[in-house]
């Protein structure tokens, strides 16, 4: 079924950029989109799935094995095919066995064989794993996901099975803060955090409704209309990936990033690292060869706002604090 095109989403630039950055450099470490209902959080993620360039996989591999990996067996190398980048939904109410994988019930029951049935984590390898309403997900699943996301490996020890497989994916979570906050311990495990709000301008709202209406009246037609936009963004992602290793981060930018984190008292080194990675990815996406202050400034709110020693009662939100620090540090 046709999904609403990514490029046709009105506004929400911060969220769209964050998703694209994660697509350019998965090591940024996931995107968390929190905000108003009806702002199109899940629409954006589903649209991203249709936009992402395909990847090469070993045909029939349940783990999306990469035929170009160094340790890939020769036999598998020959079976390389193109497949869409996986964007896997982790629905609410998922149970652990389906997430990490478990004994294959069908084979066990019918043939008495002990076989591992890979779970969602295997399917999401080299792609995206999306959790809507992440704040309603059971804590133990969130812990598990973040652990796997951080280590890049899924280790299963259950029912006498002992399996480990690579599971590197970009974790994308979305939710509405009114349903409950995400545990602060988990917040900073996401690379980027964006705040999403419904459009405020009338013109923008009308555009949202009009495009939605047009899409619903003629899905195929609408998607076709946006196909060239979509293709150009896809090209941009590919070009940015190719450019990324060559993007320079001058010492000045490194220092600015460090001073920014210091000024904000952002905990740990992860903030600095993410800030730098995101800035490089943005530079790559924009076709620049060098990270500039502008890049750092553009990604700093997403990269840092959830890492501040947060005052949950600060009505202004951490976004404002980041903006203040940015002005101080970057003006210097």
């Amino acid at each position: 079924m046709a999904v609403f095109p990514f490029t046709a989403i009105v506004g929400q630039d911060e969220m769209k950029t964050a998703l694209l950055l994660a697509a350019v450099d998965p090591s940024i470490g996931g995107v968390l989109a929190f905000g108003d209902r009806g702002a199109g959080k899940s629409t954006a993620v589903r649209a991203l799935a249709a936009l992402l360039p395909p990847i090469r996989v070993v045909a029939g591999s349940p783990y999306n094995d990469d035929p170009d990996a160094r340790d890939c067996p020769e036999a598998d190398r020959a079976k390389a095919v193109e497949a869409p980048t996986p964007v896997v939904d982790l629905p609410l109410g998922a149970t652990e066995d389906r997430v990490v994988g478990a004994l294959d019930l069908e084979r066990a029951l019918t043939r008495g064989e002990k076989a591992f049935e890979p779970g969602l984590l295997a399917r999401a390898h080299r792609g995206f794993l999306y959790i809507d309403e992440v704040n309603l997900l059971e804590d133990h699943l969130v812990d598990l996901l973040l652990d796997v996301a951080a280590s890049g490996e899924n280790v299963v020890e259950r029912e006498g099975l002992s399996v480990r497989h690579a599971a590197r994916f970009v974790l994308v979570g979305s939710g509405n803060p009114e349903e409950g906050e995400l545990r602060p311990q988990l917040l900073d495990r996401f690379g980027l955090s964006v705040e999403v709000s419904t459009p405020k301008e009338l013109a923008e709202r009308i555009l949202v409704v009009r495009r939605r209406d047009a899409f619903e009246r003629d899905r195929a037609g609408f998607v076709a209309e946006w196909a060239s936009e979509e293709a150009s963004v896809r090209e941009r992602i590919l070009a940015a990936r190719a450019r990324l290793p060559g993007v320079e981060a001058p010492d000045a930018a490194l220092e600015k990033a460090a001073r920014l984190c210091l000024a904000l008292k952002a905990d740990g080194l992860r903030g600095e690292l993410t800030l730098l990675r995101a800035a490089r990815a943005l530079a790559a996406l924009e076709g620049a060869g060098v990270v500039t202050d502008a890049h750092v400034r553009a990604v700093a709110p997403s990269a840092l706002r959830h890492r501040l020693r947060r005052d949950p009662l600060d009505e202004a939100g951490s976004g404002a604090r980041v903006a203040r620090a940015l002005d101080e540090v970057l003006a210097a």
């Binding site: 506004g11 911060e14 108003d36 209902r37 009806g38 702002a39 199109g40 899940s42 629905p91 609410l92 109410g93 149970t95 652990e96 389906r98 997430v99 004994l103 019930l105 069908e106 066990a108 029951l109 019918t110 043939r111 969602l120 309403e133 309603l136 804590d139 133990h140 006498g160 803060p177 009114e178 349903e179 409950g180 906050e181 545990r183 602060p184 705040e195 709000s197 419904t198 405020k200 301008e201 009338l202 923008e204 709202r205 009308i206 555009l207 949202v208 409704v209 009009r210 939605r212 209406d213 619903e216 009246r217 005052d311 949950p312 009662l313 600060d314 009505e315 939100g317 976004g319 404002a320």
Partner: protein
């Protein structure tokens, strides 16, 4: 009966025939008889079986209803909503019915059911539905019978193409709302549960029966995440239903054919968006719903293009009830309204002010960017005027800002008590027999049994052969229960069978049966940290002098931050003047707690007893929900207002001590912070009566106080008089 099969159950007060199942495919004759309302037959099938008939009570909160009140005009709008929904339930999401069980609600549901296409499902979902039943999963009975995994569709998938009616939506948990929301958004149920995965189509509309009493204090209402996804919000209680026409279904079917071809002029689209904005309706979903409703209205009227009247009706139904601000009077040129009055302060309901990021950049210039021209003239006015008719009462009174925050239930919204035995962090399954309330983990049990099947089948066949030689009857018993049986069947295979008839009937065991033995049984284990609720009881009276109150607020804020880290719930009880009030019902949304606190007025007498009593009520309610409440009381202890609001220092103090004693009986952790300028014996006495730790507020140092207190609520009630 299949396990987990949702079956209607009779409730006291319901008519006897209400006990008939309401689920499953609609009997064909059902609606034929319903073509002309009223039909007792339809009521019997459609009525809410588990909802006891409410005692007619004069105290029932007057529902913010159609301005039309108790007459037919309100009904015609409601009926139009039912008909629009019947055209394409999924497109409009559904409706929230604020109504008690009664003829109006029944008639509305009957009308909706009668308008749906022949054979479309009309399912009931009880608020207590389990995730497994809602989403589907492994069908254990069928799996065991077939010897291979068989999945079963959940209620949502079963309602595909029709309507699901959620009973007692005000009791629905946030997770249930999220599941419904996901199905409404995507038209599919995504499943990743024990042994089953995939996506099943579930394009449906949801009717949320909301019997909650919406008021300032109460958070009993359908979850906002669900309300957001339903186009209509109707208050039916005061409406007098009118009969349907005899050709109702045919009329709807005709309109359904017309619907895809209904054109909607741009001006209507823009007017609906402008109206949404003027009414402070932030979510674009509402405007999209209004647009679809307008098209549906035109289709129902037999028009090929949406006209002003359709747009007005749509605004009345889909926008008005969501309004969070009263629009400017129609005379004040709404064009200006639309562009300038686009306030950031839209409403606490839809746009929490704590997400005060700058609005996203204006969209890049676009080919289809509208030109903000004369289109938003008369039509917008008309649409807004229409929507005004159905504004919630609070908004009309200009109370939007105040009431909005109180109405949106947070994570702590009313809901069934969560039992640790059914939710929480699974500790894995352990072997054992299901008894003493422990639940059998069916899938894990199957997994444990699965690898042994070939071996057991072989064994069983061999044993059976041997048993035939020995004594057939003994073997038959042996298959049922191996314990102590002489036939050499000590292992005790249980051939689990879907139909539930004796395992021995299949003799020798059918090769596809799954042989489950005692040692395969796995029990579910859960570990759930006790959920805590910190109830802040804050003295806002005049005697707690202004700057002390400010300090107390500071202390409470620091404690709130502590609670945030632990993800506690908090509630805020304040007392001043004549009585106490629940300023904030239990919630995890601490920003709201902060807002409630910041807006706390000071001054007046000190009705300490009333404050403690209200705290006790809240604590009891929390205990009933399985939470662990702790109390943090900030007062100078100088009680001077009695429970009945009258003065009298001595009597008030006695009452306070008495209330404290009752509160102590609940055995809660408590701390009393003396907010007086000097430590007062009164406050110490109350703390003693409470069995609470007594902490005089260190002079002007809220941070130190929070440090002193942070251990207190969780610790056992300490000796009184302990200095910080």
């Amino acid at each position: 009966m299949k396990p987990g099969c949702v079956q209607a159950s009779a409730a006291p007060g319901a008519a006897p025939d209400a006990a008939r199942p309401v689920d499953g495919p609609r009997p064909a004759g059902d609606v034929a008889g319903a073509a002309v309302w009223p039909s007792a037959e339809v009521f019997a099938r459609r009525r809410a079986p588990e909802a006891p008939a409410p005692a007619p009570s004069a105290s029932a909160a007057p529902q913010a209803a159609f301005a039309a009140g108790e007459d037919g005009a309100g009904w015609s709008d409601a009926a139009a909503a039912a008909d629009m929904l019947a055209l394409d339930p999924a497109a409009l999401g559904g409706a929230r019915l604020r109504a008690r069980f009664g003829p109006a609600r029944d008639a509305w549901l009957a009308r909706l059911a009668a308008g749906l296409p022949e054979g479309a499902p009309f399912r009931r979902i009880p608020a207590s539905v389990t995730e497994e039943r809602l989403l589907g999963g492994l069908d254990l009975a069928a799996t065991l019978a077939a010897g291979r995994p068989v999945t079963r569709r959940g209620v949502l998938a079963e309602a595909h193409g029709g309507v699901a009616v959620l009973a007692m939506a005000e009791r629905a948990q946030a997770t249930l709302a999220a599941h419904l929301g996901a199905a409404l958004d995507g038209g599919v149920v995504r499943l990743a549960r024990e042994g089953a995965g995939g996506a099943v189509p579930a394009r449906l509309g949801v009717v949320a029966l909301d019997e909650g009493e919406e008021s300032e204090e109460s958070e009993e209402a359908a979850p906002p995440a669900l309300r957001e996804r339903l186009a209509f919000d109707l208050a039916l209680d005061r409406l007098r239903p009118e009969p349907m026409s005899a050709d109702h279904r045919a009329r709807i079917a005709e309109a359904r054919r017309r619907l895809p071809h209904v054109a909607c002029p741009d001006a209507v689209l823009e007017a609906l968006c402008a109206a949404a904005e003027a009414l402070g309706v932030a979510s674009p979903r509402a405007a999209i719903f209004a647009l679809r409703a307008a098209c549906a209205a035109a289709a129902l009227e037999g028009r090929a293009e949406v006209e002003a009247g359709d747009a007005a009706l749509a605004a009345r139904l889909a926008l008005g009830p969501r309004a969070t601000q009263a629009p400017a009077a129609p005379d004040e040129a709404p064009e200006d309204d639309a562009s300038e009055d686009a306030p950031d302060e839209t409403s606490p309901d839809e746009t929490p002010p704590d997400r005060g990021d700058p609005p996203p950049d204006a969209p890049e210039p676009d080919a289809d960017r509208l030109d903000e021209g004369p289109a938003l003239g008369e039509l917008t006015e008309l649409v807004i005027a229409a929507a005004r008719a159905s504004l919630p009462a609070g908004v009309l009174a200009g109370l939007a800002a105040a009431s909005g925050a109180g109405r949106a239930p947070g994570a702590g919204a009313a809901g069934a008590m969560r039992r640790a035995a059914t939710r929480g962090r699974p500790l894995g399954a352990r072997p054992g027999m299901p008894q003493g309330g422990a639940r059998l983990d069916l899938v894990e049990t199957l997994r444990a049994a699965a690898p042994w099947q070939p071996l057991r089948r072989r064994e069983a066949a061999e044993r059976a052969a041997a048993a035939v030689d020995a004594n057939e009857d003994a073997a038959r018993d042996g298959a049922r229960d191996g314990a102590g049986d002489g036939a050499g069947d000590g292992a005790g295979d249980l051939a689990m069978d879907a139909t539930g008839d004796a395992a021995g009937d299949a003799f020798p065991p059918a090769p596809r049966r799954v042989l489950v033995r005692r040692e395969d049984f796995r029990l579910r284990r859960f570990k759930r940290p006790a959920e805590t609720l910190t109830i802040f009881v804050v003295d806002a009276s005049g005697s707690a002098a202004a700057q002390r109150l400010a300090e107390a607020k500071g202390a409470v804020e620091l404690l709130l931050a502590e609670s945030y880290v632990r993800r506690d719930r908090v509630a805020l009880v304040t007392f001043r003047g004549a009585g106490a009030e629940l300023a904030l019902a239990p919630t995890r949304a601490l920003a709201r707690a902060k807002r409630a606190l910041a807006g706390l007025p000071g001054g007046g007498g000190t009705p300490l007893a009333a404050g403690l009593e209200l705290a006790a009520l809240e604590a009891e309610a929390a205990l009933r929900r399985g939470w662990t409440p702790t109390l943090a009381i900030l007062t100078d202890g100088r009680a001077n207002v009695r429970r009945d609001g009258s003065g009298g220092r001595e009597a008030a103090r006695a009452e306070a001590l008495e209330a404290a004693g009752r509160l102590r009986a609940l055995g809660l952790g408590a701390a009393l912070i003396d907010s007086g300028a000097r430590p007062s014996p009164d406050a110490a006495a109350v703390a003693a009566a409470l069995g609470a730790r007594y902490l005089p507020l260190p002079r002007a140092d809220a941070a130190a106080l929070a440090g002193a207190l942070s251990g207190a609520p969780s610790g056992a009630p300490a000796a009184t008089g302990a200095r910080a």
